[in-house]
């Protein structure tokens, strides 16, 4: 999984990036199955590997699929990342070990959910009961977020698209179409 992530940093072809991201999501789903989260794995495989990849491919179709090559590595960014990573690793040293049944996270509501959700809500799948009943407001909020995002996408890509392009009244339209050098020449002749 880390290998695919580092591959994503290096690859310049965005089509390959989208495909590799699908692989990354599938590996993540596998990892969730290993860690007993079957519902999450389903969702990740369907939504993460499926819909996100489709969305990315759609975006690539509307934009360009090759990334520009940049100059030298960004050393400052690398330093910031390494320092943050070291701090986080230091922070994990106090965390409970993997799979520890006495970890604080298992001390609170989880027992009640597992013990009583069968009688109180019904479905044998505890995740379903918690999602739809005990934490129903969370799910309502989730739906609100999705609705807002959908409205945003429709506004951004809907009817108005193409009318608000960045036109400069004094330039000829073909000048600003990415041709930087001609634009500069044009301005120099004006001066």
């Amino acid at each position: 999984m880390a290998v695919t992530a580092f591959g994503l940093i290096r690859i310049r072809n965005l089509f390959a990036v989208a495909m590799l991201f699908g692989v990354f999501s599938l590996v993540a789903a596998l990892l969730y199955v290993i860690m007993d989260a079957v519902d999450v794995a389903f969702t990740e495989a369907a939504v993460g590997a499926g819909i996100t990849t489709v969305l990315m491919l759609g975006t690539l179709a509307l934009t360009s699929s090759v990334e520009k090559t940049h100059g030298p590595r960004n050393l400052l960014a690398m330093a910031v990342v390494l320092v943050t990573g070291a701090g986080l690793i230091y922070g994990t040293l106090d965390m409970p070990a993997y799979g520890d049944p006495d970890a604080p996270i298992h001390r609170h509501v989880a027992d009640r959910y597992i013990g009583k959700s069968g009688a109180e809500v019904g479905p044998p799948n505890v995740v379903t009961s918690v999602l739809a009943s005990y934490r129903g407001y969370d799910t309502l909020g989730e739906v609100t977020v999705i609705f807002t995002a959908a409205v945003g996408v429709l506004i951004l890509l809907g009817r108005g698209r193409g009318r608000h392009t960045r036109r400069r009244p004094e330039d000829e339209p073909e000048l600003w179409r990415g041709d930087e050098r001609r634009l500069r020449d044009h301005r120099e002749t004006e001066l």
């Binding site: 969730y32 007993d36 079957v38 999450v40 969702t43 690398m78 993997y98 890509l157």
Partner: protein, 120 residues
């Protein structure tokens, strides 16, 4: 397969830093969205690994099973995955619009065009 106690957190940290590096160091906007997604998946892995109980099974009630993994992080992450896709869709729509307006999706080029506009 047995890992030493804190390995799961370290995996999450490494993934998170990979995503973080992509977000701050790469200029391509689609690449940045991918980086954000990697960052997000690292948080998911962190949560799910915290919910695991050694010897437990998936939290689906059945006769004769005493030990289940914690269902609460699973629920939270289910919600987070779906919300993540919604925000990704919004981000990609913004990228498409930026491409419409600037004819490029490289951050340095859009910055240069903006500076040019302000200089006028």
């Amino acid at each position: 397969m047995e890992f030493p106690g804190l390995f799961n957190y370290w995996v999450a940290v490494v993934l998170m830093m990979a995503g973080f590096y992509i977000v701050i160091a790469q200029g391509n906007l689609i690449k940045k969205v991918v980086g954000l997604n990697i960052f997000q998946v690292s948080v998911f892995v962190f949560y799910i690994s915290m919910g695991k109980v050694k010897g437990g099974t998936a939290p689906i009630l059945d006769e004769g099973i005493q030990l289940y993994s914690n269902p609460l992080p699973h629920v939270l992450i289910l919600t987070a995955i779906v919300v993540g896709v919604a925000t990704t869709a919004l981000a990609l729509a913004l990228v498409v619009r930026i491409r419409d307006a600037f004819e490029t999706i490289e951050e340095d080029e859009t910055d240069a065009l903006e500076a040019e506009d302000e200089a006028r």
